[in-house]
């Protein structure tokens, strides 16, 4: 008896948990393409076109530039804080590029790479970190929710949103332009929150079309993954009755392939999947963190050898899938992006103090209106006065 049901086990699930190689990988750190996947996982061995590969490369280079620019902006006092994605480019671009337009994404505070794939102007990401807003895009314009800071809360929102999709009849119709799914992003640390586990329960109970995409970057600030789980995280899903899979999160091809398959399962009405993207937070937790207090530089060095961009570059070059111009163009584009971000960030206007009172409610209440007016009058009293 297979408690997970036949269709689930075919693709992911128990085959992973007992004995199979845990990590789905299509591109080794050295840039070698892996073709012989273990039984049950063959379907992840997609064919990628040269264009796709160049696209992944470009995405990752630009996203990394976005990240280093934002980090620099923080150092120069232009941002209050920045949550770096360094090292997680493949996980995010792989997950982001696997989406269809009709899918919806619930990010944490670190999904700059996914935002990029969704077409968000990166400048919009900076506002929150600069302190000029709490997120300044319309989720409906990009099918990309606002950053969520309370760890794990968005996993329930994602599940509820997916339940809404079920009710809207956009799941399991067989129409590829209609069927939709949700991705819930979260970290290894977040996997300990009650909300995240409740999201697993609700998603399983209602068979909701949601992919739980966990970037296991090995750290929750200073706490190593072992504090949260003593077994591979993807196995958590098995106990809730849906499949889990661990993918090399530094391998953009494998992450794309696995996420895409998980999304398709969801769109087809086969319910949730847990994808653990096994990666590493190369930078600090945020720009205010000092990782030297809790981790060894040797660990970081060993992960440098698994750099997500280098391996795609090696593969593309070795196989002649791009010429020198391409690499030069991407480099130039990155420089341009950097310049745009630097200028754009500094130009982001401070909010008006009085805007503080807006959007608390659909319509201003009398009582808040009175408070606002009182404050306005108070501010006016300074004109010339004191």
């Amino acid at each position: 008896m297979n408690p997970f049901g036949p269709d689930l086990a075919e693709v992911f699930g128990p085959s992973q948990s007992d004995g199979g190689p845990e990590l789905v990988q299509l591109l080794t750190p050295e840039g070698e393409r892996v073709h012989h996947l273990p039984p049950g996982l063959e379907q992840f061995d997609l064919d990628f076109s040269a264009e796709q590969l160049r696209g992944f490369y470009r995405d990752m280079v630009l996203v990394r530039r976005l990240d280093t620019e934002a980090t620099a902006l923080q150092r120069h006092g232009e941002l209050g804080i920045w949550a770096q994605l360094l090292g997680q480019e493949a996980a995010q671009v792989g997950a982001g590029r696997a989406l269809r337009p009709q899918d919806f994404v619930f990010p944490t505070y670190r999904e700059h790479g996914v935002a990029w794939c969704r077409g968000l102007d990166p400048l919009k990401l900076l506002g929150l970190f600069r302190g000029v807003d709490h997120g300044n895009w319309d989720p409906a314009d990009y099918n990309f929710g606002l950053y969520t800071i309370v760890i794990g809360a968005q996993c329930l929102h994602a599940t509820g949103y997916a339940m809404g999709m079920q009710r809207d009849g956009v799941v399991g119709t067989g129409d590829p332009d209609r069927d939709a799914a949700v991705v819930a992003h979260f970290g290894d640390g977040a996997s300990s929150q009650g909300d995240v586990n409740e999201a697993f329960i609700f998603a399983a109970s209602y068979n909701a079309p949601v992919v739980f995409f966990c970037q296991n970057n090995q750290w929750a600030i200073s706490e190593p993954i072992e504090r949260q789980s003593r077994i591979p995280l993807y196995q958590r899903a098995l106990g809730f009755g849906f499949p889990g899979v661990r993918v090399d999160g530094n391998d953009v091809l494998a992450t794309y392939a696995v996420t895409q398959a998980a999304l398709q399962r969801a769109r087809d009405g086969q319910g949730p999947t847990f994808v653990e993207a096994y990666t590493y937070r190369m930078g600090a937790h945020t720009t205010t963190d000092d990782p030297t207090r809790y981790r060894l530089s040797g660990d970081v060095e060993s992960w440098k050898l698994k750099d997500p961009i280098a391996r795609v570059e090696a593969y593309v070059k070795r196989n002649g899938l791009a010429d020198a111009d391409f690499f030069a163009d991407v480099a130039a584009e990155a420089d341009e992006l950097g310049a745009t971000l630097r200028e754009g960030c500094k130009a982001l206007p401070d909010p008006q103090p009085m805007s503080m009172f807006d959007n608390v409610y659909a319509e201003m209440t009398d009582e808040l209106g009175a408070q606002r007016d009182g404050f306005a009058a108070y501010l006016d009293s300074f004109e010339g006065a004191r």
């Binding site: 949103y161 609700f202 608390v360 409610y361 659909a362």
Partner: protein, 331 residues
């Protein structure tokens, strides 16, 4: 149906049930979510018959996890639905407190108004039903302190019928408090053809000139009984059913207190930092020179809710209100 409803005598439970039904008929985006709301119709039967008539997709029995219920309701609202969440008892809302104060309350603000949160969270509240621990709490102040939430309490069958529909139609999240002790108590006549007062208004439910008594939810009845008793002693109490706790509708309150010069706030919640504190502060600020006595507060004591055999001593009752009236008049 309307003709039949006209002149119907209903309990609060029935009024809420009818109101929910109306709201579901009026808008296919309205959903009900909660523990046991389906076949059972909720432990108080407020959702009785709704799953049968609207289906499992619209009346959703949830796994036993309050944070999960509210959190998934948030996602549903983001997808354009209008979830009405039932919390089984007041004392079980706290596992969802984080989702309510950090998400439900703040998402409109966070998103600059782009993502509305039309969620209603229904909470049977208050004591007096002889229940075990956690089944008799009055958590209103903990929500009213949070900007972004609206908080209302109904006190009678007719208000239950209208207010739940208005709360569901409201584009802001509403914490909807239902005095569980009243669910199956008194009946009132519902005339479905009138136009109800707006949701966020308070109402003078008995006029009087000596002392203003402010109440909501279960204590409205207590206040009215006290007013009746007081009138026998020649004292005229004006009773206001606040109905809305956030925002407060201060106009009728201030108007009354300016006339009477005295005010008493009655609620089951703990006195310390309860609604009475806020009302006392505001009334004093606005009516400083009209007040003949400080605003007095009659409420649940500042102890955990006691064992039910002595709950009537914990809860404000007619005599404690009258005692406060005496103290106010003698001040």
């Amino acid at each position: 149906m309307a003709a039949q409803e006209k002149a119907q005598k209903i309990t609060l439970a029935k009024g809420l049930n009818m109101g929910l039904r109306k709201a579901m008929e009026a808008d296919p985006k309205v959903l009900i979510m909660g523990e046991d709301v389906g076949k059972l119709g909720g432990v108080f039967r407020i959702t009785d018959g709704l799953q049968k008539d609207f289906g499992e997709d619209r009346v959703i029995d949830s796994p036993l996890a309050e944070s999960g219920i509210v959190g998934t309701a948030v996602g549903m609202a983001m997808r354009g639905y209008r979830p009405v969440v039932e919390i089984q008892f007041d004392g079980f809302v706290y596992p969802a407190y984080d989702q309510i104060v950090c998400q439900v309350a703040k998402i409109r603000y966070r998103s600059k108004g782009r993502v509305p949160m039309p969620i209603v969270i229904r909470i049977p509240f208050g004591g007096g039903i002889g229940a075990v621990e956690h089944h008799s709490e009055s958590p209103e102040a903990q929500f009213a302190h949070t900007p972004g939430l609206k908080v209302v309490a109904c006190s009678n069958p007719v208000d239950g019928y209208w207010m739940i529909q208005q709360a569901i139609a409201c584009d802001d999240p509403v914490i909807f408090l239902e005095p569980k002790r009243q669910y199956h108590a008194d009946k009132a006549e519902l005339d479905d053809t009138v136009t109800p007062e707006p949701l966020f208004t308070s109402r003078v439910v008995r006029q009087g000139g000596d002392v203003t008594v402010l109440a909501y939810g279960p204590t409205v009845k207590t206040a009215l009984k006290a007013a009746e008793a007081a009138s026998g002693e020649g004292r005229s109490l004006e009773v206001i059913d606040l109905r809305t706790l956030s925002p407060l509708d201060m106009a009728p309150v201030l108007d009354s207190v300016r006339r009477t010069g005295r005010a008493i706030v009655v609620h089951e919640a703990h006195v310390n930092l309860g609604m009475g504190a806020e009302l006392a502060a505001r009334i004093t600020e606005e009516c400083f020179y009209s007040l003949e006595a400080p605003v007095l507060r009659v409420g649940g004591f500042d102890t955990p809710y006691p064992a039910s055999r002595i709950e009537e001593d914990f809860l404000p009752d007619l005599d404690r209100v009258l005692d406060a009236v005496d103290r106010s008049l003698e001040f």
